[in-house]
Amino acid sequence: MTQPSSEAVRPIIEVRGLGKNFVVKRSLLGRPLASVGAVDDVTLSLMPGETLAIVGESGCGKSTLGRLLMRLIKPSAGEVFIDGQNVTDLSHAVMREQRRHVQLIFQDPYASLNPRMTIAQTIAEPLMLHDIVPANQRARRVAELLEMVGLRAEQANRYPHEFSGGQRQRVVIARALASEPKAIICDEAVSALDVSIQAQILNLLKDLQKRLGLAFVFISHDLGVVKHIADRVAVMYLGKVVETGMSDEIFAAPRHPYTRALLSAIPVAAPPSHQRPKASRLLGDLPSPLSPPEGCRLHTRCPHVRPECKIVSMKLDVEASGHANACAFWRELPAQDAAEVAREPRNPKLEKLFAAFEAMAANRPAQTVTGG
């Protein structure tokens, strides 16, 4: 995380010591009585062209962090920099202009499109607001954007209800691209889609990143998706980042017990004879974020808990490589079961079948067969 801040490459988004408390109960006079620490002391940076994934279970603060990253909400502590500029205390109006550099995509594409606007109007709105192209060229730009996300220009005058879920998400992506952002924050952007459609959208996001040099913050609970798309990963638990590092490193050798538990809990679509052992799974339920446990916040559920865990701090132990984790005792944890890390590769015959499927699909795109 604490990459040496080279002058050449400046992070698009950088946050330092970020925290956010939500007041959940007030006294009669409006004084806060109880608050939830949704995000606590998070330091992150997003470099141009990279994908940073924020993963964790519900209630871990990943969506709040996403909103803080683009300063949709004001942090209670810490600072946010967008493109080198400190935006922590910017006024609403100034912030609105800044926002064209960072866009946000949500989970449910239907909820984020106005049902009374055609998709051309929807996509042209950011062009108009930020005055990106002159009025007489907007229609052409909308057509370009639609083609960029795999829709046809003649679909521009349709309404959101005429599209399927995957197509709607493409419209939302086109709108996000309209303001020519440097970064897009995807908050569970593919979670509501069926797997075959999800794969289409993930491929599209990767293509766009390559073409436009976009940076993505990918907020997700699905580690399979994260592994596929992310360069770097930050794992959160109850408002704290517990492990962060390069995606390959984290998936190959997770250090924090929570990361290990998350990885071992994911059901793998492989034959039962290839399933992994379940030793490192978590016990019990998520504690209430209103009163997070003292010391290490995982100690109530950790399979490797020891008495000291109630008093240790959750400071990230950062290595030169950037791999950091918040478990004070990770070096003493039992080595990962070899079987858990090294899994048998998939049936080579099946790989060939996938290759044949892809090759044939590339040769002939889906045809439209209408009913009789």
Partner: protein, 346 residues
């Protein structure tokens, strides 16, 4: 406490004695569900057949709109009678469920047939304690005093590993976490030792760590009681982890039917191939996912012939005609003219 545990043991002992490994608990043959609307008619389920054996778990897997949930609701006779027409045969322990009276169904549901749904909060009544909701099922179907029913309910809560069940018994659904609520639903579903449990996306609303706990619990309870389970899911990972046999549904039809081991070793239908390939996996890194192009056909107006042909890269001229579900190898069937898929691999 001891009484209720005894009943539990007695019942499982009885069911073990009656164990006939080959007997199926549920036999569905050629099930068709047609919804009649004002403007058009939709055949949501079109000729689905399957059977579930005692102590086994059958997965029905498919994407949204494939008809997997409608299949389960039709089996339970929970579809609205004024709009849904159901044809075919559903036999449960020798009884034709489609010919049962409403009262007959009511005596089966919750007793010998049980169902759990995706969102536990909408299945639980927020204004009754969880204890009251569990004993309601027991009192309805078993000759027990309220005291005995309470004991049994607490034993069930203990069985699904709810911590301090005696306290939780008197709490309301909003006092419980999502994982715990789903465990309460399981306790309620299993309170009368059903022979068949239909679980419709039981873990979809849960976090992965909790999902792992719930799936493991269902597996364990099944080993104890021998309940047959039909698990409806869109998640192939859940299928791999928790099921024995699987049917894959696409646009209202079964396109592939086999054991879970075979499905993940070498699928025999192009749709399953695409589905498996489009799944980002933890144990490998690939640059691009295999995507199935296009979208599902309009069910009000399905195309003639194979329903997957518009999206299928392997399509040939024969696909204009609807293929039957044909056996490719022992216990492995596929609805595709081009099966076996081995022939398509160079």
């Amino acid at each position: 406490m001891s009484t209720s545990q005894n009943t539990l043991e007695n019942q499982s002992a009885r069911s073990v004695r009656a164990d006939d490994a080959s007997a199926s608990v549920l036999d569905v043959k050629n099930l068709r569900v047609i919804f009649e609307g004002d403007t058009h008619t939709v055949t949501a389920v079109d000729g689905v057949s399957f059977s579930v054996k005692k102590g086994r778990t059958l997965a029905i897997v498919g994407e949204s709109g494939s008809g997997k949930s409608v299949t389960s609701l039709a089996v339970m006779r929970l579809l609205p009678e004024h709009s849904a027409r159901i044809f075919g045969s559903v036999s449960f322990d020798g009884r034709q469920l489609l010919d049962e009276t409403k009262i007959g169904m009511r005596s089966l549901r919750g007793n010998r047939l049980a169902m759990i749904f995706q969102e536990p909060m909408t299945s639980l009544n927020p204004s009754y304690t969880i204890g009251e909701q569990i004993i309601e099922v027991i009192l309805r179907h078993r000759q027990m005093s309220k005291k005995e029913a309470t004991e049994r309910a607490i034993a069930m809560l203990k069985l699904v590993r709810i911590p301090s069940p005696e306290t939780r018994y008197y709490q309301y659904p909003h006092n419980l976490s999502g994982g715990m609520r789903q465990r309460v639903m399981i306790a309620m579903a299993l309170a009368c030792d059903p022979e068949l449990l239909i679980a419709d996306e039981p873990t979809t609303a849960l976090d992965v760590t909790i999902q792992a706990q719930v799936l493991e619990l269902m597996r364990e309870l099944q080993q104890k009681t021998g309940t047959a389970i039909v698990l409806i899911t869109h998640d192939l990972g859940v299928v791999a982890e928790a099921c024995d046999d699987v049917i894959v549904m696409y646009a209202g039809q079964v396109v592939e039917q086999c054991s879970v081991e075979e499905l993940f070793t070498f699928p025999q239908h192009p749709y399953t191939v695409g589905l498996l390939g489009s799944l980002p996996r933890l144990d490998e890194k690939r640059e691009r996912l295999v995507a199935i192009t296009g979208t599902v056909p309009d069910m009000a107006n399905p195309p003639p012939g194979c329903r997957f042909q518009a999206r299928c890269p392997f399509r040939v001229e024969e696909c204009a005609e609807m293929p039957e579900l044909m056996e490719v190898s022992a216990g492995h069937s596929s609805r595709c003219w081009r099966a076996p898929m081995e022939d398509l691999v160079p």
